[in-house]
Amino acid sequence: MADDLFKALADPTRRTILDELTEKSGQTLFEICARLSMKHQLGISRQAVSQHLAVLEAAGLVETRREGRYKFHDLNTAPLRQIAERWLVPDTSGSKENTA
C-alpha cells in the first residue's frame, strides 16, 4: 500500500491531477483531460490520463463514483496521513488541535 502511494505521488502529471481534484472533486475523465490540456498545456492522451488515474486509484488517492451513466473521480487525501504518521513527530509543544 505504501509503495503504491509513493509511486502515485512520484509523477508530476499525477500530482497535477491531484491539484485539479483539490480545486474541485468529482470530475469526469473528460473534465480532467480538459484541465490538463487547457490549463496546464499537457499534451497527453486520454488513455494516458486513464492510466494515471488507475495508479492514483490503486493508491487510494482517487475514488470513482458512478451516478447513473456517468463516472466521477473524487479526491481522497486520507492515505496521505500514512506519510505524516510515519516520520513526523507529533508536536507536543503546540495546542491539542494541532496534534489531531
Binding site: T28, F30, A34, M38, K39, R69, Y70, K71, F72
Partner: protein
C-alpha cells in the same frame, strides 16, 4: 463546401423535440415523417434560422448504444453549442432541471460546461473565443 447539417442520435424524438426547443430554445425547422414512426426532425438557432441545422436522429441502430454509453461514461460530449455567457446559461438550464456533468470551467479565453440532453447525449456549451 459548407456544413449545413449535423446530427445527434436521440432515444426518443418527441422527448428530444421538447428538450431541444422548450429547454434549449432552438426552433423546429423540418418535421417530415420517414418510414413508420421516424421523422426527419431538424432544429435551428432562432438567431440563425438559415444556419446549420441539427438533425435529431433516431438512435435505433444497435451500434449507437455502446458508442454513446462509452462516451457518456467518460463525460465526453457529442456536440458543442456556442453561447454568449456559459455561466448565465448554466444558471438558466439548472433552473429548468438540466443535469450538468461539468460545471462552468474557465480555461484561458474559453469557458465550457457539459450537460445531459436527457436523450442519451452529453452536450458542451462554450463561449466563442473573442
Amino acid at each position: 463546401m459548407k456544413i449545413h447539417l449535423t446530427s445527434v442520435f436521440v432515444d426518443d424524438q418527441a422527448k428530444a423535440e421538447h428538450f431541444y426547443t422548450e429547454i434549449l430554445g432552438f426552433v423546429k425547422k423540418y418535421d417530415v415523417p420517414v418510414g413508420e414512426k421516424d421523422r426527419w426532425l431538424t432544429v435551428v438557432s432562432p438567431d440563425e434560422p438559415d444556419g446549420t441545422e441539427l438533425l435529431l436522429e433516431p438512435a435505433g441502430h444497435p451500434a449507437v448504444k455502446p458508442y454513446r454509453d462509452a462516451l457518456v461514461n467518460d463525460g465526453i460530449p457529442l456536440a458543442q453549442f456556442a453561447v454568449d455567457d456559459v455561466k448565465a446559461e448554466h444558471q438558466r438550464l439548472r433552473g429548468l432541471g438540466v443535469r450538468f456533468t461539468q460545471e462552468p470551467l474557465e480555461m484561458g479565453p474559453v469557458t465550457t460546461a457539459v450537460f445531459d440532453d436527457t436523450c442519451g447525449n452529453l452536450i458542451q456549451i462554450a463561449t466563442k473565443p473573442q
